[in-house]
Structure formats: C-alpha cells, structure tokens
Amino acid sequence: MSNKNNSGDDFLSGDAAAAEGAIAAGCRFFAGYPITPSSEVAERMARRLPEVGGIFIQMEDELSSMAAILGGSWAGRKSMTATSGPGFSLMMENYGLGIMTETPTVIVNVQRGGPSTGLPTLLGQGEFMQARFGTHGSLEAIALAPESPQECFDFTIRAFNLAERFRTPVILLMDESVGHLFEKVRIPPHDEIEIINRKTPKEVPYAPFEPDEDLIPPMPPLGEGHHIHVTGLTHDEEGRPEMTPARQEKLMSRLVNKIRLHKDEIIDIEEEQLEDADVIVVAYGITARSARRAMVLAREKGIKAGLFRLKTVWPFPTERLEELSKQGKEFVVAEVNAGQAHIMVEQAIRKKATFVGKFGGEPHRPEEILKAIEEALHADN
C-alpha cells in the first residue's frame, strides 16, 4: 500500500498508475461501474480516495457514472470515471452533455477487444474513432494514449490539466496491455507536479458560458449566487436555451475553435529518427512499443525507418503528417483494429499508407510491423 503522500518509486500496473495520477492531479470524485479491464482503476480509487478526503461511488451503470461525474465537477471537485468499450458506448450521450456544457472531467477507457462483449480480458484499440465521433453531433475531442504505466500516471495528470484549462471532458485512451502491464512508476513530490485549475470568475453573477478571449469561459461555482443555468440544449452565454441556426453557429464555432485554435498546445507527438526516414510507422499505445522495436530491426537491416508515436490521438496531427508526406516518405499504420487511425493518416498524407492491423487479443509482434515496413518501402516500385 502506497504511503499517503505517495511520492517515490513504485511498481504499478497502468490501471493503478492512472488512479495515482488522478489523485496527484487533485481528483477527489470518482463515480464508475466495474468493467474488465478497467475495474482496477475504480478499485484503487475506492481505497485511496477516502484517504485524501475524496468521494468514491460505485454507480448502478455507466450512464449514471458519466452523469455523476459531470455533477461532481460542477459541484467543484475534479472528477473521473473509468470504463472499457461497452461502457464507453453507454457513456456517449452524457459525454456529449459534458462537451456541450463545457464540464471538465476525465474519462479513462481501457480498451479491450470488441465490438460488443468481445474479449473482456484482452487487448483492443477499437475506440480510436469513437473517442472523437462516438457521440452525436460535431465536436472536437481531446484524447491521450499512454504506452506505459509511467505514462498512465503522467498522462492522467495532463488529462486533468487539459480538462480544467479547456473546460471540456478529456479521454485517456488506454489499452488493456498497458493497463495490465506492471512497470516502475516514479511519482514526483507533490510540489514538483504542475496542476492547472479551472478559471473562476471574479464578478457575481457570472454567466457560465461567457468566454474570455481564449474562447474558454471561467466556470462559476455553485451556491454563491451566480444562479447558473446549464443545459444540453443549444444556449447563449447565460445558458438560456436558444434553438436557432444563428445561435448554433455561434456556440458550436466557439466550442470547436476552443480546441482547434490551441491545437499546438495540446498535440503531443514522439518523433523518433524521422529526419532521414524513408518509412514512418504511426502507432499509439502498446502498439508503439512493438513499432519501436520494428524500427530498430529495420534499421539493422539497413532500412531507414522512423516512429511517429501519437501521445495525443485527438486532436489529430494532420499538419505535421502532411509536412512529412511532402518530404516523400512512406507510411505504415499499425493498430489493434480494422483501420481507424489509418483513415486519418491517409487523409493527412493524401496517399496510401500500408496498414498492419490486428483485430484484437494480442499486441503486434515487431516482425509483423517490420514486414509492413518492407512492404511500404517497395510499394511504389
């Protein structure tokens, strides 16, 4: 059992590290529903949150979990839930409510084999697209994909910071392999961790959706005479429902641009050996670790391969990929699904990218990605 101020080195699974990251970031409210392979996140939070004065509730299902964390966030606590594919699907409606009401919160999806009940205990990466397009309506999403327990810890903190900064739900798109991997995690002392909190307004009353110049509104707290009204209907700055095309344009442009105009601040890519690369492998999560090994094997064979690792999967780094494509490089996309990031990559590079996928259950073997690298190299011969 970790000590209370939990700094130091520990040997944790990705799930446990995500929970510790949340606590380090100041999360003091968790509402969730058990689902393999994410239950360990909830279990750790159940044990740890009371120790730090936090509230843990096991809700009756995922729909209510998502609703409860939005309520908890409005009531002033950083909040989080954790789930997997089937639960993620159930959360979609209220995730949209979170986007529309600009509620900061973090949703952890420890992806498993799908669709449907699929492979509850085994790897999948099938929610890449769903993280952005899973809820109805047009929106921009922020999603991060860690590849190690250390990154589960670090990215959860980043997820909370992004959620608070941009007043929006943020998805931590883990996968079962990373979630169940045990590795050393270094937890820094509390004062070395950068924590960002939501802006709060200075005047009372403050309209809950009146944006600052950065398009992000300060968030008024409850119970202080702001008399906020928060609705999922299209609304004006005061939260008053206004269901007209003109208001829809105004509100939705702001919600979308709130993220788009700050893309450079949000997007985080790891680029390895790209400068001289002839073939670039795009991957995220556990697949990136196989891809990295494949890159090494390729280089040993004299193939100039590089790795483009998506640490943030949304917003998608279209511009950077476009730039690299113009340099004449070929691309391979490796993921544990039937082709999702692949679609986004091809759209960015405006040509074919070799796809090496797996439907689920186990990570790629480096040799499988190496084969795809070789294919990509000889593609236009």
Partner: protein, 317 residues
C-alpha cells in the same frame, strides 16, 4: 373594483422573469407545481442561493430553466445521478430534482430505484401527466390502461407503475402523492418533503390537456384538471401498495411513507473520509456501518403492516 394590472408578481425573486411567459401550454399543470414549490421554499425560508434544481428532458424538465437558482437541464433519465454527483460533492446544498414520469421511471427507472435504496438526501418532484408530452403524446410507464396515445392508438395495453408503491418498496424514506388541483395540499406537501432528510419523493398528478386530455375524453383544460378533482381520494397514511391507478376510477393520494431518521448515503460516504474511520479496525467499521444501516425491514413493516422476517416457529426445513 376592476382587476389591477401590474408587472410584478410575489414570487418573481425566485423566477427568471425575463424568460416568462414559459413554454408550457395553457392549462398545463407544471406551472402550478412550480408555483407550489416556490411558495414552499418561501414558507420554509430556504435560501435560493443554496438550492440547486436538476431536471431531465421533457416538459417537466424545462422547470430548471425558469428558477433563479443554480440549475441543470441534463439528459433524458439522468437527472438523478447528476444530482447525486452534486449532492455528494456539496452536501451543504439543497438539491431538488424536478422531472416527469417518463424521464424518471422509464429511461431513468434504474437510477431512481438506486437513489431510493441509498436514501440520497435529495427531494424528487415527479410530475405525472400519464404521457410523454413534449414529444407529442406517446405512452408512458404511467399511462392507464385503455388510454389513447400516439403510440397506443388502439388503447394502451400495458398496466402502469404505481410510482408511490415502487418508491416505498425501493426504500425511499418519504413518499407522497398530491395533485395540481389540490394546490394548497400540494404546497404543504412540498414543504414537508423539502424539510425531510433523506430521499423524499413526491408524485404530483398533473394534467396535460394538449396531448393526453384532448385524446381521452377530457375535451378542454377544465376537464383535464377536474379529472383529479373527481377521482382523487385522500387517505391518512395509505399503504404504498394502495397507490394503483385505474382509468376513470378513484385513486388514493396522501403520504404513503414517512420514515424517521433513516441514515443517508451522503452521511455514510463522508464518514469514509474521516481519518479515525479509516484507521480504526475493520470490526469497528462494520459496527458503525450496522449502526447506520437503512431500516428497510422497518419500512417493510410499515408497508405490510405486520412483522417481517423469519419468525419463531417458521419452518426452516
């Protein structure tokens, strides 16, 4: 002396007056429920700055948009878990859920049952108009048999929930039913519900002349309202199982359940955050938990009217 025209109304301090007149139809009972609620708040001296109203989707759901308090108009069926999140994080606030029969008992059915079981300290005002009004008049889990709705054009085949009974059995510590025509009793009833700690549930029968009354032989606004005048019967401490509603027959209203001192969910969750509680022995924690358990068998006795549980002499072979 003629009627005096004015632009100020006594409850205006509690209303977002710039949004009036509200969207509800002429003769809709919702304004009456909101009126009674605000009067109850005023009578109790409840601070509107410390009151949060959470609603779902539907005509009743629009209530949140008219109160001059912190208010949330959430997704269909999910007002209660949203409210739970707020109450658990800010137990100092009064949290009131205003929603309709379909929102709370169809899509939201699961959540309200758990909320009653846990005895969350919120007040739920469930407006029952027998139909899904906002979307044009489809059937609801409370629609009486034979009623004509847009999705039961040949007459409703299904039997409705006895919401009051369901709530009492699920563990709500306060359950009452009133109607909009009994406006004074409704006001007093809401005062009581708002004062009680724990999960307080008030079903308010309310007319929807536009989508229900009109199709079901209540040709105008007054007819729709008079249905409740005609068939509601007040009983003193009625049994929650007695809350069944049959079409065009008398039904019972009153206080179906009034349990004292039921421990609330919020109390228990907050206890967990106390250092002493975490550091004591598991045996001591178990003792505290048992001391603070819901008295569900007492509630069962209140409902069944006789001793509940295994008795001496019961056959256990």
């Amino acid at each position: 002396m003629p009627i005096i025209k004015t632009d100020k109304y006594p409850l205006d301090a509690y209303l977002r007056t710039e949004r009036l007149p509200h969207v509800w139809c002429p003769g809709c009972g919702l304004g009456i429920v909101l009126n009674a609620f605000l009067r109850a708040m005023q009578n109790l001296g409840m601070d509107p700055d410390k009151t949060v109203v959470v609603s779902g989707i539907g005509c009743t759901g629009r209530t949140a948009g008219y109160v001059k308090m912190d208010s949330f108009h959430t997704t269909h069926g999910r007002a209660i878990p949203f409210a739970l999140g707020i109450k658990a994080a800010r137990p100092d606030l009064n949290v009131v859920v205003f929603s309709g029969d379909g929102d709370l008992f169809s899509i939201g059915g699961n959540h309200i049952i758990h909320a009653a079981r846990r005895n969350i300290d919120i007040t739920v005002i469930a407006v029952n108009n027998f139909v899904y009004g906002m979307t044009g008049g489809q059937l609801a889990p409370t629609t009486p048999e034979t009623s004509i709705t847009t999705t039961s054009p040949y007459g409703n085949l299904e039997s409705p929930f006895n919401m009051a009974g369901l709530m009492a059995i699920a563990g709500a510590s306060y359950v009452a039913r009133w109607t909009t025509v009994h406006a004074r009793r409704l006001e007093k009833g809401l005062e009581k519900a708002l004062s009680k700690r724990g999960f307080s549930f008030v079903e308010v029968m309310s007319p929807c002349p536009t989508t229900f009354g009109r199709r079901n032989k209540m040709k105008d606004i007054i007819d729709s309202m008079m249905y409740y005048q005609k068939y509601a019967v007040i009983k003193d401490n009625p049994n929650p199982l007695d809350g069944v509603i049959k079409p065009n027959e008398k039904f019972v209203m009153g206080e179906f359940m009034d349990a004292e001192d039921e421990p609330t969910f919020d109390d228990k969750v907050w206890e967990l955050t106390k250092r002493d509680f975490l550091e004591t022995s598991q045996a001591d924690r178990a003792k505290w938990i048992l001391e603070h358990r819901r008295h569900l068998e007492t509630l069962a006795t209140l409902i069944a009217g006789e001793n509940i549980g295994p008795q001496e002499g019961d056959d256990h072979e």
